[in-house]
């Protein structure tokens, strides 16, 4: 996030793109609700009806994967009507003319055609956004899990800079991180193309510093992303894999392929806190301590480095991942792993990641510190880019709309979207073992629009088979207008009906994010089981 969670409630306009905030980032949605109570306009761009829709000023339910078109048309209108912030663009940015030129054909009429949103709505949203004092953009994986995932992020940044909504409070471009420490894992360089602190591995100077520090030569070409590793494994070129705390089988797209790939690896090590579908495939499964059983730091979506306290001892032989890695390095004879505890590791981190330089455990305390924090005197940074952008001037990066990779056809007429619900989390490793959450959302289900349900003669609670080119799953239908006609939605938490059997592994060419939010599917009504045996009202809200 360029800005902080606390600032959201003071924004005068919030643009929420592809985020079911209430269900997935509940406490952040609380800030959005507070902003609306304070009179903020709320514009939602999301094909699905979400809980925030009922308090929104506008809900643009566009066709999945067409966000870029919609936003480009909004920008064109803003420029055409001279609603953009000329001072900001002049002083702080470059490449405006290129952006303007690139938007030439992005008329509202065109965007309306592509996205299915009426021209008047697009124009109204554009004017509202441009007219707002502090407009804050909040987006999540609904926006980015597309083949055009990078484009949408650029488009949002363009829109934000165009209207001068960067570098001031209650504005900015704010991705909501789905997991407690995605931000930190990226900061730490657990990425194939970057070293800690986002130093590119191909950057000779940057790499050199690490080579000197670690006393070892680092390969200069970027490594493989998870989807690419899976490809390699499938091709028989990946012989050893170490998975630390991830249920890859359920979380990656096209599960059947993932299972095959993992089976194909000669030696697979999986570390986890629970028995999962992935540990079941491991040659060695190593028991890990969970968050309550170890000390360390997490970095939240607002760049807040926070302390995780150890409350209890882990069960049995389980050890913290840190201890396991240190012992592993010890056995392997690797140098530079002589750490007694997380504090010592953290102090090394502060030496290699400039944004963390001024942070230590004492300063983190119970309230955390937001990076960048360059020195022990620096108080941390509430919002980024106040005076200047990291690279100096903010660069507009023109983007061209690309449709999703797999669109519905006669055989597979529905657009399948996947996501989470409020009471389960990711692959359910934790939530499905928590009775009070499991009771709320015990059964896998597919959301179907009432008119589609009628077409397919499906009633709420019926068992249906959903299939795509990659596989099929059986689950219950939930008939609801939360999804538009021609679209279906399946939460991916459930191993008994894993949605990722269905999903497409088409990747964004730049950052390799899979297109989990759009693929083509069909519905087949299965045998109807006793409806009463499961939660009837929930499934049949119509």
């Amino acid at each position: 996030m360029t800005n902080s969670i606390g600032e959201i409630s003071r924004a005068s306009l919030l643009l929420v793109v592809g985020s079911n905030t209430t269900e997935n980032h509940t406490v952040i949605s609380g800030k959005i609700i507070e902003a609306v109570r304070n009179g903020a306009e709320l514009i939602i761009i999301d094909p699905r009806k979400i809980q925030l829709s009922q308090i929104s000023s506008m809900h643009l339910r566009n066709k999945p994967g067409t966000d870029v078109a919609l936003l480009c048309a909004m920008m064109k209108l803003i420029i055409d009507e001279k609603l953009h912030d000329e001072n900001f663009i002049g002083e702080r940015t470059e490449g405006f003319e290129e952006l303007k030129a690139s938007l030439g054909n992005c008329t509202s009429a065109w965007a309306s055609e592509v996205s299915g949103i009426p021209v008047s709505e697009i124009e109204k949203a554009a004017r509202l956004f441009a007219g707002a004092e502090n407009a804050s953009i909040i987006y999540c994986l609904g926006a980015t899990e597309h083949v055009s995932g990078t484009d949408i992020v650029r488009t949002l940044a363009n829109l934000s800079m165009l209207t001068g909504n960067v570098g001031k409070p209650s504005s900015g471009v704010n991705p909501l991180r789905g997991q407690n420490n995605v931000q930190g894992a990226c900061d730490m360089g657990a990425l194939p193309n970057s070293l800690p602190g986002y130093v590119n591995v191909s950057d000779d100077e940057g790499r050199k510093e690490f080579e000197d520090l670690w006393g070892i030569k680092i390969p200069e070409s970027p490594g493989l992303t998870v989807p690419e590793m899976i490809e390699q494994a499938l091709a028989g070129r990946m012989h050893f894999m170490f998975i630390m705390g991830e249920n890859t089988v359920l979380s990656e797209p096209n599960s059947q392929k993932v299972i095959e790939a993992l089976k194909n690896i000669e030696f697979l090590v999986v570390e986890d806190i629970m028995k999962t579908d992935t540990t079941d495939l491991a040659d060695i499964a190593i028991p890990a301590a969970c968050w309550a059983e170890k000390e360390g730091t997490f970095t939240s979506t607002e760049r807040r480095v926070q302390h995780v306290g150890k409350a209890v001892e882990p069960p049995g032989d389980a050890k913290s991942d840190l201890e396991i890695l240190v012992r592993l390095a010890g056995i392997a004879g690797a140098e530079g792993f002589d750490f007694k505890n997380s504090r010592e590791v953290f102090s090394e981190i502060t030496k290699v990641v400039p944004a963390y330089a001024g942070i230590n455990y004492e300063r983190i305390g119970t309230k955390g510190i937001q990076w960048p924090c360059s020195s022990p005197e620096h108080e941390g940074t509430v919002f980024l880019h106040e005076k200047k952008f990291t690279r100096g001037k903010g660069r507009f990066q023109p983007v061209k709309y690309r449709p999703p990779a797999e669109v519905p056809d006669n055989e597979f007429p529905y657009v399948l979207m996947t996501g989470r619900n409020a009471f389960q989390y990711h692959t359910g490793t934790m939530t499905r073992n928590s009775p009070s959450l499991e009771r709320e959302a015990m059964y896998p289900y597919v959301e179907i629009n009432p008119s589609d349900a009628q077409k397919e003669s499906v009633k709420g609670g019926d068992m249906v088979t959903i299939s795509t080119r990659r596989g099929q799953i059986r689950l219950r239908a939930r008939v609801t207008d939360a999804v538009c006609e021609g679209q279906i939605f399946i939460p991916f938490h459930y191993r008994e009906a894993p949605a990722n059997i269905l999903t497409s592994e088409e990747l964004d060419p730049e950052v390799k994010i899979p297109e989990l939010k759009v693929c083509a599917a069909k519905i087949k009504r299965g045998q109807s089981r006793g409806v009463r045996s499961c939660n009837n009202t929930f499934l049949n809200s119509f």
């Binding site: 209430t22 269900e23 509940t26 406490v27 949605s29 609380g30 609700i33 507070e34 109570r37 809980q51 009922q54 308090i55 305390g365 119970t366 309230k367 619900n421 409020a422 009471f423 009070s436 009771r439 709320e440 959302a441 015990m442 939660n535 009202t537 929930f538 809200s541």
Partner: protein
Amino acid sequence: MSVKEEAKNLLGKGMDGVLFYQMKDGSAIPHLFTSKDIDEMPDVREIPDSERYPLSDILSKLLMRFSSAKFGIVARGCDERAIIELEKHQQIDTSRVSLIGFACSPELAKICSCSKPYTESLADEMNEAQEISRGIESVERMSTPARLGFWLSNFSVCVKCMGCRNICPLCFCKECSLQDEDLVESGVLPPSIPTFHLLRAIDMAGRCVMCGLCEEACPAGIPLRTLYGKVSEIVREELGYVPGTRGVKSPLEELGSSVGSDDDLKS
């Protein structure tokens, strides 16, 4: 005498621990002080106003877990009221509890709209409590449809975190009506409107000690104090009962205790 000295006295008199807050990196967190660390007990003035926790609920858990231990507690007015009410529901055995009372700051009392921001032991030194409306009047001034709109829109942003129930010192039932499938459908957001919130309001009747922790815990900012405050007002005015006061149990808990005059009832 400071609370620390009073707490030390209690430990000297055979108490096993004293429940209060510990200051950790600028945050107040609940902690049970024993003779080992009693010296670290902070003064009541060090506790930030915004950092209150359901100490009475924690005390109840401790009493059940350590079935013969005796505890002291450094309590605010609302903690004490909750303890009294919990005792009436057999959730706390006060013969194993000693209470050290303190008064909240005037600022906090104002934020909480609290009419009794101190414990009974301090009642003589304090000014006569004044009754403060908790937004009830302004809701009542609305027209009936506006009132309905106000509440339904507030309920509609509920995220069913159960924070209001979880943090409530008076919510101790093993089986919760909010998890009754017949009343509140599971898995649906917002939870059944308005049933979910009315159920909780009804359950608060004759119990709510107006500590306000529910409203503070609500991520959606629903004005729960106002809702439960109204229920408490009805119970006080119609049934003559104020939760958290010593003496009789709530008339809603007891079958047959008489209410009003028989003439009232016959009409």
